[in-house]
Amino acid sequence: MKLIFEKGAPGQHLSLLPACDVPEVEIVSPRAEAPELPHLSETELTRHYTALAKRVHGVNDGFYPLGSCTMKYNPKINEDMANLPGFTNIHPLQPEETVQGCLEVLHTSAKLLGEITGMDAMTFQPAAGAHGEFTGLLLIKAYHKNRGDSARTKIIVPDSAHGTNPASAVMAGFTVVNVPSGPDGCVDVEALRSAVGPDTAGLMLTNPNTVGIFDRNILEITKIIHDAGGLCYYDGANLNAVMGVVRPGDMGFDVIHLNLHKTFSTPHGGGGPGAGAVGCKALLAPFLPGPVVEKNENGYRLAVPEHSIGRVKNFCGNFGVVVRALTYVLTLGQEGIPEAAKNAVLNANYMMKRLSEKYTMAYAGPCMHEFVMDLQDLKAATGCSAMDIAKGLLDHGIHPPTMYFPLIVHEALMIEPTETESRETMDEACDVFLALWDLAHETPQALHDAPVKTPVRRLDEVGAARNPVLKYTPND
């Protein structure tokens, strides 16, 4: 498909702005040449983007069991609420008394999400999960510093963790200590015990973990860290499995981030904008980024916590995403939140059971909201890899599971159906998965060749990295 720069003709344009009604002013230091931007009529412009949209598989195009990403349905009411003119037309630096509705959104969201997670205070400044991790780790850093304890320089991270965990720890100025997982995919408690010490600043953990298992030793794990003087960080990527059932705060965690774009149904937008709200126990609240929203008898106001680490982003974060998440929480409410978690877990176990007929599970069930299959045996027997099965799914209109993660499983496919998928959809997908297993044994070449029905077929990623072409350059 042509690039937008290759369409239209110079002189084609939309009619958007009026003539100038005040004296015109000339710029003093103008650029040498006008920027080369597209020139199209409105017809061609909108057709270009419609064509692009058709070359994208979204949640509304079909099943999207992308493990760890919680690709649940994105309710339409959320979009309508975020697009209310009373929100979209609000300047972020308006006087407090004119933004009471926005502040109410933030304050109410902090209260409700705090109840769901067992946390006392929350900031919505972080724009994504990784940004939340960075923020949470800075809270831990500031906490130790404020106590005059400068020896705590290490963050413990299990080897099953998301890659963002160690990367965030380094950005926050910590050294990373990797601890191995046990054969059950959970934290090796003895290894953890020998890893902690007076230099331990904290632990980062996902629970359920990245292989979809709830770590039953969680209270012991968080106690080991606390006894050593460290704090516990909860990576909220997998909260969808347990929201309303068990709370990170009650597991012993001191600080968490939530991916509002996973657990709380806000759309992923093809890679953002998301929101990585960070919640914490009272002991860390004085360190939160400012401003936070407070409520008093006169209404809501913005305030900067006493020992704030400072800003991590402009204004109050991705406000529009928070409106969507609040709409979702208000919709589901007290009964709906745990109901969603329970059905996410049921759906995952149902698929796990059906796929166990042929596929090897990396870890025995029951699982939580997702499970990991290990295709090493399939690869040994047929030559077909996790990648081949994934590409085969594309020809059936199914977005593949997460591939090759976590790193501790070599031919991993991680499946997370979410609670918003019907049994019918899951049955159809399981039939496809099982048929691809048979195809791998019968005609493996067909899977090596897949996909064949997509707008493009397998792409040369090595070539793309070796000779980077990162923008359009006209031929002439």
């Binding site: 080369e36 994208v56 979204g58 409700l112 068990v246 937008g269 904008p273 991705n318 049994r423």
Partner: protein, 434 residues
């Protein structure tokens, strides 16, 4: 209560028995019993109509101004109808990061086009797929410049205070030193800058136009930075780039900025969009996603996320940044905006904004609110004002959001959406007060 669970009770029962348990609670057997939540203190769930009423009631408590004369990092510009129409497409709204390139070509190509447009605007050679906002882009940019011998970043005091605050937080994490170069008459003090450019200075961040709307001598600053062996980062308003000298022309090594003016709502501060571009010598240090062109097994042109060896999912603790998303839908919006405006439309928006701001400045000067600083400015400027509270209150009562109170006066902004009539009305109101 509202619910998005399709399976009926009967279907769930069948699934449970297929799994081999009698109750869904059995699947949570690994959770220590004493930890299970007994009571979730949330309000009862609501129907869609009830939720709509509740959230609309919150939105109604905000004040929407008919006229906005405030910028300071967030700008109300005209947004063509095509922008929202395109970015409301369900495929684009609901997709994940384009890991499966074969079914993500639309997003990947749009980002490739966005990268091309950012390069066209800035004159830089390589753009990434965007980051969270202008301030995080600036903070990531200074991290790109750090090396073993150079641990100090310099930032002009004329940069947006929020940008400086975000940089400070990132430096608290990394251990980099941040030094603020003082201002002189509303612009970066170039002599002070030269003095601060010691051997350990890794980079300098200069905002253009600066927080006070003033146009900096960015070329001279760049020469001083390079003479001292440091990297030069410019934070530029993207609308101004339609007409102003580009960061490339000013010698910048990295160009960043807040791209909210390119088709995004004010939305109480977010989601916005941070653009980030670099010259060829530095592009491998860019954080975040980058889309590259390639071809498929049949030789068809296609697009993929590329240069991923820089990123956290491969490098983990050795990655230069932890960022793993961009603001894809916002970048999409910016691409549609720039395509709809075209070079001429963007130039018109820039010139209209600048002309309106200059008209407002002239009218304010006539009624006793002269400019706080001299010299050229773009679409923002600060004026002296003895009673900013009274001025802003009088405007507020007439549905006008006046400028932002700053040290010594008021920081005003006008864009193409403000008419002469609105400006005249605002000035008349202010005249009554002053």
């Amino acid at each position: 209560m509202g619910s998005y669970i399709p399976n009926t009770r009967a279907q769930r029962e069948e699934m449970l028995s297929a799994v081999g348990v009698s109750r869904v609670e059995d699947l949570f057997a690994a959770v220590p019993h004493e930890m299970l939540l007994e009571h979730l203190d949330l309000p009862a769930g609501l129907s869609e109509l009830e939720v709509r009423r509740a959230v609309e009631a919150m939105a109604a408590k905000n004040k929407v101004y008919g006229t906005v004369l405030r910028g300071a990092g967030a700008y109300r510009h005209f947004i063509p109808s095509v922008v929202k129409s395109v970015i409301s497409r369900e495929e684009l709204v609901t997709a994940y990061t384009p890991y499966q390139a074969e079914v993500s070509q639309g997003i990947l190509q749009a980002i490739f086009e966005y990268q091309t447009m950012i390069c066209a605007l800035t004159g830089m050679e390589v753009s990434n797929a965007s980051v969270y906002d202008g301030s995080t882009a600036a903070a990531e940019a200074i991290a790109m410049c750090r090396d073993r011998k150079k641990n100090k970043a310099l930032v002009s005091a004329c940069a947006d205070p929020q940008t400086i605050a975000v940089m400070r937080t990132y430096c608290f994490g990394s251990g980099m030193e941040l030094e603020v170069v003082p201002a002189k008459d509303g612009r970066t003090d170039l002599e002070a800058l030269k003095a601060a450019l010691t051997a350990d200075a890794a980079c300098v961040y200069l905002q253009q136009p600066n927080f006070f709307g003033n146009i900096e001598d960015a070329k001279a600053a760049g020469e001083a930075v390079h003479a001292a062996g440091a990297k030069y980062i410019m934070g530029c308003n993207p609308i101004a780039l339609a007409v102003m000298e580009t960061p490339a022309e000013c010698g910048a090594d990295i160009a960043v900025g807040e791209a909210q003016p390119l088709g995004l709502d004010l939305a109480f501060g977010g989601p916005y969009l941070g653009y980030m571009a670099a010259n060829k010598a530095m592009f491998r240090k860019l954080p975040g996603r980058i889309v590259g062109q390639t071809h498929d097994v049949d030789g068809n042109v296609g697009y993929v996320l590329t240069l991923t060896a820089r990123e956290q999912h491969i490098r983990r603790e050795k990655a230069s940044s932890n960022i793993c998303s961009n603001q894809a839908l916002c970048a999409f919006a910016a691409g549609v905006y720039l395509s709809a405006m075209g070079a001429e439309g963007l130039r018109q928006a820039a010139k209209l904004s600048m002309s309106k701001a200059h008209y407002l400045a002239a009218e304010l000067a006539k009624i006793g609110l002269p400019r706080l600083h001299e010299g050229p400015f773009f679409h923002e400027f600060a004026t002296k004002c003895d009673k900013p509270g009274a001025v802003l209150k009088a405007l507020d009562e007439q549905g006008i959001l006046g400028g932002l109170a700053v040290d010594g006066g008021i920081l005003w902004c006008a864009t193409e959406v403000v008419s002469k009539e609105e400006i005249d009305r605002a000035v008349a109101i202010i005249k009554e007060v002053c």
